[in-house]
């Protein structure tokens, strides 16, 4: 009897007793064996336990895509981009999945030159950008400290420039965090999502979106989510048809 209970417990808890790296590898094995649902479930379980990383979200995106769930795949890839914004494979996969959507793609992001110019804002993770701001801040203030004793105008100007860059970078961080908190990006994860003029089934359908459509989530209320589409169209969809990206710090 005791051994039977032990075996059952081992089977039930086997998943959670293994380390996160082993479970990640097991998910990859399931994927290669074409058990995409099993791979996605294993990776989702890791996410639910609070584990977070770019490869985890990327592989989850692949597993969702293989099951034909474009919206869930895009959501996973977008979460992965928070951790590895410069990963070329991720960019490629996101482009492949977006190309399969039924709805016409909304307008793209900023032009490449602008993305390069604002690289801390667009090409760095929030952690990297925070480290950059901290480094600029400390280096700038160290130079200003030194300028109090070594009276060189160049030292003072360099310090002030670094502090100004640190403040700009901090502003960029604040902007990213605030935007993600107040109107996070979201993705339609159901085959169709009717966008209604109000939060309830009795309101008329304004338009219909399809799996994988990307939008902005404005608020949630009693099972309904207010969304913004293409910058000017707003309406309400059922909660379970849309997922929003999590806050950058949270």
């Amino acid at each position: 009897m005791t051994s039977f209970v032990g075996l059952a417990l081992a089977l039930v808890l086997g998943s959670s007793l293994a380390g996160p790296a082993e479970r990640f590898i097991r998910a990859s094995d399931l994927y290669r064996a074409e058990d995409f649902a099993g791979a996605a479930a294993e990776l989702e379980a890791l996410r639910a336990e609070g584990f977070a990383s770019g490869p985890l979200e990327y592989n989850l995106g692949n597993a969702e895509y293989r099951q034909g769930r474009l919206g869930k795949a895009i959501a996973a890839y977008l979460r992965a981009a928070d951790f590895m914004p410069r990963e070329a494979d991720l960019d490629f996969n996101l482009r492949v999945v977006r190309a399969r959507r039924a709805d016409a793609a909304p307008a793209g992001g900023a032009p490449t030159f602008l993305r390069s110019l604002l690289f801390p804002h667009t090409l760095l993770t929030i952690g990297e950008e925070t480290a950059l701001a901290a480094t600029l801040w400390i280096a700038g203030l160290a130079l200003l400290h030194a300028a109090l004793f070594v009276r060189r105008a160049a030292l003072r100007r360099a310090g002030a420039a670094l502090v100004a860059l640190a403040v700009l970078t901090a502003g960029s961080i604040a902007w990213r965090v605030a935007e993600r908190s107040s109107r996070p990006p979201g993705v339609v994860v159901a085959e169709t999502a009717d966008v209604r003029t109000g939060p309830g089934g009795e309101y008329p359908v304004y338009f219909t979106l399809h799996d994988g459509y990307e939008l902005r989530v404005l608020e949630r209320s009693q099972g309904w989510t207010k969304v913004e589409v293409e910058g000017d169209k707003r309406g309400w969809v059922e909660d379970d048809r849309v997922v929003a990206l999590p806050p950058l710090f949270g």
């Binding site: 990640f24 990383s53 494979d89 492949v96 190309a99 400290h145 109090l148 710090f249 949270g250």
Partner: protein, 601 residues
């Protein structure tokens, strides 16, 4: 009485009230200007001294511009304090080093200062500059250049005067210093160089060189790598080195000791210096075109000597899955402006992606050395046996003066049936169907799929939220430190310029120290009178028992207590045999000092 008359009276009354205060402020500090020597020689350095009698501190003034007069350095600020018959007098002097180019009459207009918080103005000063004589330390550049032509000069050279297009050469500028007269090296200004890609080779180098005749030189050297980008005759303009030459010095230095390295840029106020610009000769470079005979069709401008290595990630792959082609080029040459190796034949049946380039190339005085790696993803579209064409890299070998071609491959590849979802992944460009808008065949993408999984990350860990309070403290702590340091620096500067303020600040601490050193009547009297003197910025000798009530007027009982204690100290000091209790005296003195500290806060 009219309204205008009334206004005039009010203004006159205000002027009358304000005038004495202004006069008092100006009377307190007397400003004078002098030129030393009084008749300086043109093209030599002289001193311009402003003395502010009665001032303890001065804010940095702005010297008005005078036509023909150059300020070489300054102002150096000096504060003086002198005790004359028990009363202290103060003065501040500001000294500039200046020079004029031409003999003649000059006038330095009034200079405005803020001394001890009040506005002060000097009277204009006229002086005459004479023509320089044989004994004067002349600072004329032409004369100096002639004087130092064998010991201060700049040279320029290239490693090859007739390179091929694309062949890297090195341009080197050298400043030769064979005299100890140089007081400041301000740098070499590189000329603009057209027709070449340029790359700086490290920082300026400094070393010593002994010439065949035994003469020592210190050499400052700057090298630049140049890659010619078109054929033709080019002229590299002269480089200009800016230095200051010491024409008269109060101290000797070892001409070839390390001090010349250490001291460059730190000339003293005693030095009489003159700026000197040294130029190299221009250099002619004749860039030869690459020969047209024997030029391979895929030649993309590479010049040098190279090795090629290429491999592919798979020999068997499913249709639609990517194959990575890695190409590495190693050697010496113009890595900066040459094209990548290419396939010898078109890639039929593959989709190509832009190659990713990684470079590990070092610029040295022998040229550009290193490796460049290209990683290129290609995707086979149809199953079957195929091959990736060979990779070729033609280049021009400078050593042999001929073109050579490196090759790697071809690479056989077996493409199996595609995996993945059953969904037909077909899209079309140019309107769909078999024909495009222009009548030609439309391109059909047979399959496009996501790239493979990523390996497990090294840092798979639960997500942690940052602590906002900790972040705020970490961000604000350096700012608070800067504010505190700025206050300290400001205080230190104030104490440096105003010794009386320093005395006032540390009066209590100094008094306690005196008391601790000597608790007898002498020590107590010195501590108490010293404290009062320091706090009131008076000479210590002027704080006598008789003066104390007047000095501490309005401070209440503490004035009488101080007078009594000082009188008791005098009595104990001069009445031999009088009984004294040092401990009690010191205790009372400490108590009095504490009260005085409160009263004179």
């Amino acid at each position: 009485m009219g309204r205008a008359t009334l206004t005039g009276l009010v203004l006159a009354a205000a002027a009358a009230l304000l005038a004495p205060g202004r006069a008092l402020a100006q009377a307190a500090v007397r400003a004078s200007t002098s030129v030393q020597p009084s008749v300086p020689a043109a093209r030599t350095n002289f001193r311009l001294v402003v003395t502010l009698e009665g001032a303890r501190s001065v804010e940095s003034p702005t010297m008005p511009a005078v036509k023909g007069l150059t300020l070489v350095s300054g102002p150096q600020v000096g504060t003086n304090r002198m005790n004359l018959n028990g009363a202290w007098s103060y003065s501040v002097s500001l000294t500039w080093v200046a020079s004029v180019q031409e003999p003649g009459d000059y006038t330095i207009p009034a200079i405005r200062f803020v001394a001890d918080g009040s506005a002060v103005e000097t009277a204009p000063v006229a002086f005459r500059a004479r023509a320089p004589g044989p004994q004067d330390p002349v600072t004329d550049p032409a004369a100096l250049q002639e004087k130092y032509k064998d010991s201060l000069f700049v040279t320029a050279e290239v490693t090859k005067a007739a390179p091929y297009v694309g062949e890297p050469i090195v341009l080197t500028f050298r400043l030769w210093i064979g005299t100890d007269a140089i007081s400041n090296y301000r740098g070499m200004e590189s000329p603009p160089i057209g027709g070449f890609l340029q790359e700086k080779l490290g920082d300026e180098r400094r070393y010593r060189r002994t010439m065949p005749g035994g003469k020592y030189f210190i050499v400052i050297e700057r090298s630049t790598l140049l890659i010619p980008i078109e054929a033709g005759d080019r002229s590299i303009a002269p480089v200009e080195a800016a230095i200051d030459v010491r024409v008269q010095s109060g101290r000797r230095r070892n001409p070839f000791g390390d001090s010349i390295f250490d001291d460059l840029g730190f000339g003293g106020l005693d030095d009489v210096t003159a700026p000197l610009a040294l130029r190299s000769e221009p250099i002619a470079v004749s860039v030869k075109p690459l020969p047209a005979d024997g030029r391979p069709p895929l030649f993309a401008g590479a010049v040098g000597q190279f090795d090629l290595n290429a491999n592919v990630s798979h020999r068997e792959v499913a249709a639609g899955d990517p194959v990575t082609v890695k190409i590495q080029l190693r050697g010496r040459g113009n890595f900066r402006n040459m094209g990548p190796p290419g396939f010898a034949a078109p890639l039929a049946g593959f989709r190509e992606y832009e190659p990713e380039r990684k470079e590990n190339v070092e610029a040295t005085e022998q040229g550009l050395f290193g490796t460049v790696d290209w990683t290129r993803a290609i995707v086979p579209e149809k199953p079957g046996a195929t091959e990736i064409p060979k990779i070729v890299f033609p280049y021009f070998d400078v050593e042999s003066g001929s073109y050579k071609t490196l090759e790697s491959g071809p690479f056989p590849l077996v493409v199996t049936e595609a995996k993945g979802p059953a969904r037909p992944l077909v899209s079309e460009r140019a309107g769909g169907g078999e024909s495009g808008a222009g009548g030609g065949k439309a391109i059909r993408f047979l399959r496009e799929d996501v790239l493979p999984l990523l390996p497990p990350p090294a840092d798979l860990a639960p997500r942690r939220s940052p602590q906002p309070a900790l972040l705020a403290v970490a961000a604000l702590a350096p700012l608070a430190s800067l504010a505190a340091t700025a206050l300290l620096a400001r205080k230190r500067e104030r104490f440096r310029l105003d010794p009386a303020a320093r005395r006032r600040e540390f009066a209590y601490k100094t008094a306690l120290g005196r008391l601790a050193e000597d608790a007898g009547p002498d020590g107590v009297a010195r501590a108490v009178s010293g404290f009062i003197a320091d706090r009131l910025s008076r000479p210590a000798a002027s704080v006598t028992p008789a003066e104390v009530p007047a000095l501490l007027e309005g401070k209440g009982d503490v004035a009488a207590a101080a007078r009594d204690l000082l009188e008791e100290c005098d009595r104990l000091r001069f009445a031999r045999g009088a009984a004294s209790d040092s401990g009690d005296l010191a205790r009372r003195a400490a108590e009095l000092l504490r009260k005085l500290k409160e009263a004179l806060r």
